[in-house]
């Protein structure tokens, strides 16, 4: 069975690396992107399977909101979770992403894992056999 793939978009390596390692230990394939540009390159690769994108709303080159909108238009099958350090931003992220919600930073690893599991389970219900 193919491992679900998570694309983690986070500019701070000291945040990105521990969370990526945690999710790998939980059994996920994790792709790491520094910013929205790197994320788009990975999402544009037809051969790269990505199930969920977890992005910081404060990415250095563009807002995570912009990336989320691009994903909605170009990779509609990919679920997006946005995370922000400002409560209002996290709430706005929840409004923007169909699947929601926004996560508050700093990341609580278990909360991220719970959200990924919930989204994958929801996809499985909506797309049985996928």
């Amino acid at each position: 069975m193919t491992r679900p793939s998570v694309l983690l978009v986070e500019a701070d390596i000291l945040v990105r690396h521990p969370l990526a390692e945690y999710l790998r230990e939980c059994g996920y394939r994790v792709l790491e992107a520094f910013d929205g540009n790197e994320a788009r390159q990975l999402l544009s690769g037809a051969s790269i399977a990505i199930d969920i994108v977890l992005a910081d709303v404060d990415a250095p080159d563009e807002s995570g909101f912009v990336l989320a909108a691009w994903i909605r238009g170009n990779r509609p099958g990919v679920a997006v979770v946005l995370a922000g350090s400002v409560t209002r931003a996290a709430e706005k992220a929840g409004d923007l992403c169909r699947e929601g919600p926004g996560l508050a930073k700093p990341y609580e690893h278990q909360q991220v894992l719970n959200e990924i599991r919930r989204l994958l389970a929801a996809r499985e219900r909506n797309e049985p056999g996928q």
């Binding site: 390596i13 000291l14 690396h17 990526a20 792709l31 790491e32 520094f34 790197e38 390159q41 990975l42």
Partner: protein, 137 residues
């Protein structure tokens, strides 16, 4: 009497510094499949902040041409000054042979691009003083 099993050793940790994300993720995947633990940095600045924060690294593998204010050569120079015992391997598609300074230190090796991943892994094992093959790195 059977020989005692070798104690489990934590995988060697490779800090990969590469600003081309599609190159970086392929290399990181290959190295993880080979049994290494991999830390992915998109720039020399990220690599230095990682080391400054105390993240344990056994070997640095960096592209020479990087986005940001520091090149891979700049990174190698800083590492030589601050982490003299840390093995550093540099790679580039712009050089056919070792680009020279800071090549004097014994720990640094140059791998021209495109590199063969099997050869690269073998070189990394060699730089880390590991057995050529078999077992976790």
């Amino acid at each position: 009497m059977l020989p005692a099993p070798e104690p489990q050793r934590a995988p060697a940790r490779i800090l990969v510094v590469e600003d081309e994300v599609l190159v970086r993720i392929v290399l990181a995947d290959e190295l993880r499949d080979a049994g290494f633990a991999v830390i992915e940095a998109a720039s020399a600045e990220e690599a230095l902040s990682c080391l400054a924060a105390g993240v344990e690294v056994d070997l640095v593998f960096s592209d020479i041409r990087l986005t940001g204010s520091l090149s891979g050569l700049d990174l190698a120079n800083q590492l030589r000054n601050q982490y003299a015992s840390l093995p550093v391997m540099l790679t580039s598609g712009d050089y056919r042979s070792d680009p020279g300074p800071p090549g004097a230190e014994s720990v640094r090796r140059f791998i021209p691009k495109p590199y063969n991943i099997s050869h690269l892994i073998s070189d990394m094992r060699d730089a880390l003083g590991l057995k050529p093959s078999g077992g976790a790195p």
